[in-house]
Symmetry: C2
Subunit: 193 residues, 2 copies
């Protein structure tokens, strides 16, 4: 459990055994069955979660009832409604498990305490957020600049794991297009080859 966790953290910063023990003490293991919610829109997001095993998604639901995928998270990723987690306001996202999953969760209060006790965790999260920001910028850029077909092509280039692991209707939602449009795009691309 914590081996996956620390291998990810140690890729960015160094930790002593004592620090590792302290950090471990702030986290709680949580298991989720397929389709089970970790967070529902309107609740306050209590946890930031490291995915040790499995696959989750976060998404919002619009007034028409349509879902819009915000992100997917599998082994080695963090997932949360960051806005709600850090501000204490109501979450706009739902988070649930696409596959049976195992998470290491931390509460806001423990997160604060951990970063104060182990300042190098500020560095870890600085680097984590920095990378997330770059990824999110790239996606935002594609969302604003690209037509549907380019969005899909860019996704195959930058996030091939998503193409392999996620059902097509969820990929369409992630790209902000309909499953029908995605189906037609795939057909068109297949013709070139």
């Amino acid at each position: 459990m914590f081996d996956v966790f620390f291998s990810h953290i140690l890729a960015k910063v160094s930790l002593t055994e004592a620090e590792k023990a302290t950090i471990e003490s702030f986290f709680t293991l949580k298991k989720l069955r397929k389709k089970q919610y970790l967070l529902q829109e309107g609740e306050v997001c209590k946890y930031m979660s490291f995915v040790a095993k499995g696959l989750l998604r976060s998404y919002n639901v619009d007034e028409k009832g349509d879902e819009h995928m915000h992100m997917f998270a599998w082994e080695g990723w963090w997932i949360s409604d960051m806005s709600s987690f850090f501000s204490g306001e109501k979450a706009v996202f739902n988070i649930d498990a696409i596959e049976n999953s195992e998470l290491l969760t931390i509460t806001r209060a423990d997160f604060e305490e951990m970063t104060l006790k182990i300042p190098v965790m500020d560095r870890y999260f600085r680097l984590l957020f920095q990378n997330s920001l770059v990824t999110k910028e790239r996606r935002l850029l594609s969302s604003i600049t690209d037509a549907a077909e380019e969005k899909y092509i860019r996704l195959t280039k930058y996030s091939p794991e998503i193409i392999q692991r996620i059902p097509q209707n969820l990929i369409a939602s992630y790209l902000g297009i309909t499953p029908e449009t995605l189906s037609r795009i795939k057909k068109k691309i297949a013709l070139y080859k």
Copy 2:
């Protein structure tokens, strides 16, 4: 110059006078005239810049020659092509000054050295990136979920400063719509009132 700078940093973390002096030594003042470039697409982004005065924008240009606004930055904001700055790869963004501006710039090497010498700066940037991430998530969500009119309404709600300070054609580009569509949306909204 550094007073604006430190007031923003001290809002997030505490610093001794000695630390402030060390931090100052890593930054260089840079003045930009209106329309002058800070970064051009294809270069490596050498600086991360704190805006002490003025207004800048970052944007990419597509193959048709159309500009897509990525962000605006004025007093108290940071601006950079983060992907290029941290990875050393070619920038995809252009950055230039909309108004005459004064920046405090830091290079990648100095940024690294600063965070190692003054670890609390990791905390500052953790908090900065965390907030940016929340803002960027909100914008991405709006970009994928909302129709043109809702995008504009949400912008007026969450970023009223942009509405006031930025020309309409740039706002349209920021929202990923045409200036014509924005003009019609404003007209439509004005009729309700």
